[in-house]
Assembly symmetry: C2
Homo-oligomer: 285 residues x 2
């Protein structure tokens, strides 16, 4: 079997797989790259994870994910910053272990409003300050911080960075090495998406491109409202051309949070993802 | 009983009430104004609705709603435009029947992607063309068209106008009398909300201000993810100050789509809305 040379399987798409299983399934399906999550890395420990990645022959396209740093100054915020520094180190180690072309990119999700708070402006400011504090440490480690704007559906409880334009504003405040994630699920609706993708490309800040579809009706758990490319409403040809025209030529991850997908045997998922990518994304590359 | 002089009960908050019931409940709860929906008006006919509104002594703050005009050129689009012209006439008639200070404002929801289409750019363009076509007719009737940007959660299936900035872009293309709706549920997450509310105010385009809360976890039907002010994550003081600073001094509607609210006796809802408004919105006026 083979998959498109730029296709990467984000591990969240086969959420219940261990790191070893995920690497095996991804390699066996003919992919060249994988997007790794921290939890399965932690399950085996970083040293073992590095060995497994090196043995897989796969590129590492990103590590998901750091962030969640909207807390007020205090112990919780300090813990978040410390944890993000560890995530930076993990990113560097895993990318170094991956096949040539691996990308030391750490995806950052800002986090939601602190419990009981409605101060969205303040939470956003604290997220920006956290990125600014981490940026020199990441640059030293050769790691790109990639701020992921999240669909506004998650603004309260998961990610207070809501648009690509906002993510770019933060990145520009925080340093030349800070980038952004362009994820179709999160940005497809944005009237400014064409201008902001071009802006991100012009400053070399597209750190990764992730694809999955927006499906309706939304499932009861809206976090899982994602589908294989082609199953929903996203115009992948349009968005992929924007990203390509903006100069991004790296790996493209398929990342699908969806209970039905998670309940499907991993090799079936890997195969289905590769076919959906070929049909919906590849023609626009 | 009395309610804040600027408070208006949007009829969708007591969805199952007939027009007569809604007017009675709203007046009995001491409100000065009501936001009327077209369906209960149609149930009794426009002539009877005009009589009922006139007898109620209430101001009419808006008529909800027109729009749903993203179809490709053809009979469906023509039907939508014809229906919107009727909605303009209804708006003028009901506002004329209402107490002094009634506002001839027709709320417009753009509609979603046509069945099977992923061409969001095209749907948005057609929505703009429809507003442009209706604008002279509305101006002639003395009716303000109020484009309602909808939370991006509805971009696929309900409203392709997703941000206040986008709604203002459309309004500015369509004429000086075209306005926008500022609805906290739809705009609270927007990083540009302060700038765009100010922009809307500067050009006199804030046609109405609607308030309800964003609650989490989202219910299974995400259309109903709205709560009484104070029950969720929206910073009403912040947003209300923005709208006030932008010069808006008209009625403020509370519009809540929520099954539990709909299942509550209407007078209880009217009372609860008035108290929530006093606690969350009024202090910022």
């Amino acid at each position: 079997m083979s998959a498109h040379p730029r296709l990467s399987l984000n591990q969240a798409t086969i959420k219940y797989a261990s790191l070893a299983e995920a690497l095996d399934v991804t390699a066996a399906a003919g992919y060249g790259a994988i997007g790794v999550w921290r939890e399965p890395v932690a399950d085996v420990g970083l040293d073992r994870a590095v060995e497994l990645v090196a043995a897989s022959g796969l590129r590492v396209s990103t590590l998901c994910r750091g962030g969640f740093f909207t807390a007020e100054p205090g112990p919780e915020r300090q813990r978040a910053l410390d944890d993000n520094r560890r995530a930076v180190e993990e990113t560097a180690a895993l990318a170094a272990a991956g096949a040539p072309g691996s990308r030391p990119v750490l995806v950052l999700v800002a986090g939601g409003l602190p419990q009981g708070s409605r101060d969205l402006v303040g939470a956003r400011l604290r997220a920006q300050e956290a990125v600014a504090e981490l940026a020199p440490f990441a640059a030293e480690a050769g790691v790109t911080l990639a701020i992921e704007p999240m669909n506004p559906i998650y603004a309260a409880d998961r990610g207070v960075v809501s648009t690509l334009g906002q993510a770019l504003d933060v990145a520009e405040q925080c340093g030349p090495e800070v980038g952004v994630v362009v994820d179709t699920f999160h940005v497809w609706w944005d009237p400014q998406v064409a201008a902001e993708v071009a802006r991100a490309g012009a400053s070399g800040r597209i750190a990764t491109y992730q694809v999955c579809d927006w499906i309706t009706p939304l499932p009861a758990d809206s976090l899982l409202a994602r589908g294989y490319p082609g199953d929903g409403h996203v115009d992948f040809a349009h968005l992929t051309r924007l990203v390509t025209d903006a100069g991004y030529d790296g790996d493209i991850e398929v990342e699908i949070f969806n209970q039905q997908v998670w309940d499907t045997p991993y090799p079936e998922v890997a195969d289905r993802v590769a076919r959906a990518f070929d049909a919906e994304v590849a023609p626009a590359l």
